[in-house]
């Protein structure tokens, strides 16, 4: 990894974790990068991740964000299925 790329920790929950068959992964993306770039990388790279939505609900560092938000090296990017709490 060099200064022009970011390595992010990716997390999957609930049905998405079942689809991908794992709860987390690491991916690298060239900088500057958005959450959407991470999503595309994940869907292309990880087995089973092609069945994830193209525009999932996402959080970066424990906060919901839009897909055009920037990511930095070391960020945690989470793919959130439709929220069903309460």
């Amino acid at each position: 990894m060099d200064a022009t790329s970011a390595t992010v920790r990716v997390r999957f929950f609930a049905r998405y974790a079942e689809l991908v068959g794992r709860t987390e992964a690491q991916v690298s993306v060239p900088l500057p990068a958005t959450v959407g770039d991470v999503v595309r990388r994940v869907r292309a790279e990880l087995p089973g991740a092609g069945s994830l939505p193209e525009r999932p609900l996402a959080a970066v560092n424990l906060k919901q964000t839009k897909l055009d938000a920037q990511v930095e090296d070391g960020d945690e990017v989470a793919f959130l299925p439709p929220i069903a709490g309460g």
């Binding site: 609930a14 049905r15 959080a59 906060k63 929220i83 709490g85 309460g86």
Partner: protein, 146 residues
């Protein structure tokens, strides 16, 4: 404070957390695992969460409520794990000097939970199937393959 628990939700504890002689109205909401005519055979629901995010998001949510109802005090606990039908998955208590504030703050919290707290549920049915619940309240068609 931690907002998550794997134990039964204690109403008494929530009420104790918000009670004080200045606050004459307390509104409590309990969301319980339902197994009625619409559900057809839900034995339990398995709740899972993005736990670290739930804790910080609940903190933000309670702060938002405190900004809107400065005299109200709010406590909330969400249970995770396998919860049998009829038991509570979430408990919210809001106490305020006057009842309208207590009702409104409590209602605000449960509506916001449904919108922004990253928790998911899978119905465990009597016939052995397991179905993820989507936010409209209806199960997805795809059965779980855990």
């Amino acid at each position: 404070m931690t907002y998550l628990t794997r134990q039964p939700v204690s109403i008494d504890q929530l009420v104790a957390d918000v009670s004080s002689p200045e606050r004459g109205g307390t509104c409590v909401f309990l969301g319980t695992v339902r197994n009625g005519a619409e559900e057809r055979g839900v034995e339990a629901i398995e709740y899972s969460a993005y736990e670290e995010m739930v804790e910080v998001e609940f903190g933000r949510l309670v702060a938002d409520a405190a900004a809107r109802w400065p005299d109200a005090r709010i406590a909330v606990r969400h249970r995770l794990g396998t919860i049998p039908a009829g038991e509570a998955s979430i408990g919210i208590a809001a106490a305020a000097p006057h009842r309208a504030q207590a009702f409104d703050a409590c209602r605000f919290v449960i509506e916001e939970v449904k919108r922004r707290i990253p928790v998911w549920k899978k119905e465990l049915r009597l016939d052995g199937t397991e179905i993820w619940v989507d936010p409209s309240g209806h199960p997805t068609s795809k059965p779980s393959h855990v």
